[in-house]
Amino acid sequence: MKQKTLFIAAATVLLLGFVGATLVYKSEKVDQTAQKADRNGNVLVRMHSPTLGNADAPVVIVEFLDPACETCRVFYPLVKKMLAENPDRIRLVLRYAPFHNGSDKVVAVLEAARKQGKFWPALEALLAAQADWAPNHTAQVALVWKHLEGLGLNLEQMRADMTAPEIANVIAQDLADARTLNVTKTPEFFVNRIPLPSFGYEPLKKLVDNALKAAR
């Protein structure tokens, strides 16, 4: 009987210790990221990034996105919905975090589409067709082109534009900033420089709602 009590007590202590250490570690990490984002405001938002929404919006969502990331695809319409529900009050800044193999090439395609003023339609088309051009978590740039037909893009021009060194620089800069900000998974969100306390749609929604309230 005494042995059973000892065993259960030990198991409980170990589990509580694990949960406690996890909570402490997570809260410290969020603090560190918040401090970093605060200290390096220019690391969070660069002039070169594509943005959506009012430039003077009181709430700025910075999203680190990988076009080949499935969770990014799931989150994209949710974030757009937030923008649509709060017209002129939220701005979305997109940063690239092409962590999947081959994904940087797809980002280059998107940047080439941006030169023709069709970044967002191209992004939406590629996210919708993601399963087709990124099988087994590997982005294959050769497979993206057919999904861009019908958007009125000059694909020949894009093939030439996507190798431009300034596009490579943008990707390298975004990846370097992601590293500075401890962004290791996508999507990662910062709402008015505050990182998500824990990952998920609900925490994001709460953070955005609080920021909207504070800005009122």
Partner: protein
């Protein structure tokens, strides 16, 4: 006299379970909380460590000395992987026979406390202690 040695054997097995549990939770903390991706060799050591957390209590309630027979092979193989990993990190084993080529290189030191405590060292210490406790428990219970 028999009851006494049985209690000792129980305590030794319980100690082995404690170490296996701490190691398992530690590995999960490194992997799931700190998000350090485990390399291939770490996975093999995990495969040997994690089952001990479940097997040993089965032999504790009620005390069954046979559990030592079931746990020892896991601990021994885990120990071999841990020693190999430690030698790899120390540079004793040359690069060419490194078994992992993709993903996280096993020779990378992701943690170094006090200048010498690495994850493979913790693993070797844990497996060695578990093996020692299991053998002691075996000697006690067979008396």
């Amino acid at each position: 006299m028999k009851a006494h040695s049985e209690t000792t054997a129980w305590t030794l097995l319980f100690g082995a379970w404690l170490i296996a549990s701490v190691s398992t939770l530690g590995a999960l903390f490194f992997g799931e909380v700190m998000q350090l991706p485990p390399c291939v060799l770490c996975w093999y050591q995990r495969i040997c460590m994690f089952p001990l957390v479940l097997i040993l209590p089965v032999g504790l309630f009620p005390l069954d000395g046979k559990v030592i027979r079931y746990a020892l092979p896991l601990a021994a193989i885990g120990w071999l992987f841990a020693v190999f990993h430690l030698l790899l990190i120390a540079g004793v084993i040359p690069e060419s026979i490194k078994p992992c080529t993709q993903g996280v290189p096993c020779s990378e030191k992701v943690i170094e406390w006090f200048g010498f405590v690495t994850i493979p060292l913790l693993s070797v210490v844990a497996f060695s202690t578990i093996i020692a406790l299991l053998i002691l428990a075996h000697l006690r219970s067979s008396k």
